[in-house]
């Protein structure tokens, strides 16, 4: 009986979903931050329409891409946690300038802060869980 329980524990340790989840969320935040940087960079490019990712969700975790654009199907790594770009045309931007540029820098800055907070949160979770494991392994810590 005792042995069985130990085996179950090891299985939990093997999968470590908390680490999977937090690192997937970190990846999502990083990718989103990169897209936002692109949007801000193109704030003065005529006709540019901003890009964004869909919200991160744990339900879609074992993590096929949900492609909304054909260009984004051909990633080699099917474990990519971010799933497809939002269709940029449908995204309601705050304003549109004379050169048909649809990037609103104010909106993008808000999104960048959001992505950064999400990154901080998930890296915090990662390190907290790691120190939890470490405290079990090494009780002197």
């Amino acid at each position: 009986m005792k042995n069985q329980q130990n085996a179950g524990d090891i299985k939990v340790l093997k999968n470590l979903p908390i680490f999977d989840m937090s690192s997937a969320r970190m990846q999502h935040a990083t990718k989103r931050h990169s897209l936002i940087a692109g949007n801000i960079a193109h704030a003065d490019t005529p006709g540019y329409i901003g890009k964004d990712l869909q919200k991160f969700s744990v339900d879609e975790m074992p993590m096929g891409m949900r492609a909304t654009r054909t260009q984004h199907l051909n990633f080699e790594n099917s474990l990519d946690p971010y799933n497809g770009l939002k269709d940029p045309m449908k995204q309601a931007a705050f304003d549109q300038s004379l050169n048909r540029n649809k990037v609103s820098v104010e909106e993008e800055i808000a999104k960048a802060a959001e992505a950064q907070a999400s990154f901080k949160l998930s890296s915090g979770i990662w390190s907290k869980s790691m120190s939890l494991f470490m405290s079990v392994i090494d009780s002197r810590r």
């Binding site: 931050h33 960079a41 890296s123």
Partner: protein, 133 residues
């Protein structure tokens, strides 16, 4: 993960390069505001992707550095050696208010990209710190 950080920094620096060209052109125009028959220079940005490693990243490129072909300013000054027969001197087509606004806007966009660069660097440091534990 960290290659997204790298692409963030690459995009931000391409934007900063483009915006500093814009500031440079604005200051060239301002400097030549009193040069006769000077056509102000303009710049148009575009989306480029010179880099095969980062296929899904939109870099900022320069589509064209052009000349503004609008009319020159005319000033009545018969005593000027450059005056034509009606006594008008042909100036440049630079409007210094427009140039100042342009330079200010370029400056702001530059700062925004610099902030994104800094944020990406902070996030990357954060990531590296996880390894130190």
């Amino acid at each position: 993960m960290s290659d997204h950080h790298l692409s963030t920094m690459a995009v931000a620096s391409s934007a900063m390069r483009a915006q500093s060209l814009r500031v440079r052109l604005a200051s060239e125009n301002l400097a030549n505001a009193n040069s006769p028959e000077y056509q102000r220079r303009t710049v148009v940005f575009e989306v480029t992707n010179p880099n095969d490693d980062m296929r899904d990243v939109d870099f900022v490129g320069i589509r064209k550095v052009g000349r503004d072909r609008s009319e020159f300013s005319m000033k009545y000054d018969p005593s000027n050696p450059l005056a034509n027969q009606e006594g008008y001197v042909v100036g440049s087509n630079v409007n210094s208010l427009v140039e100042m606004t342009n330079a200010r806007e370029a400056n702001r966009s530059y700062e925004a990209s610099l902030n994104m660069f800094d944020q990406a660097r902070m996030m990357q440091n954060n990531l590296i710190d996880l390894l130190r534990r």
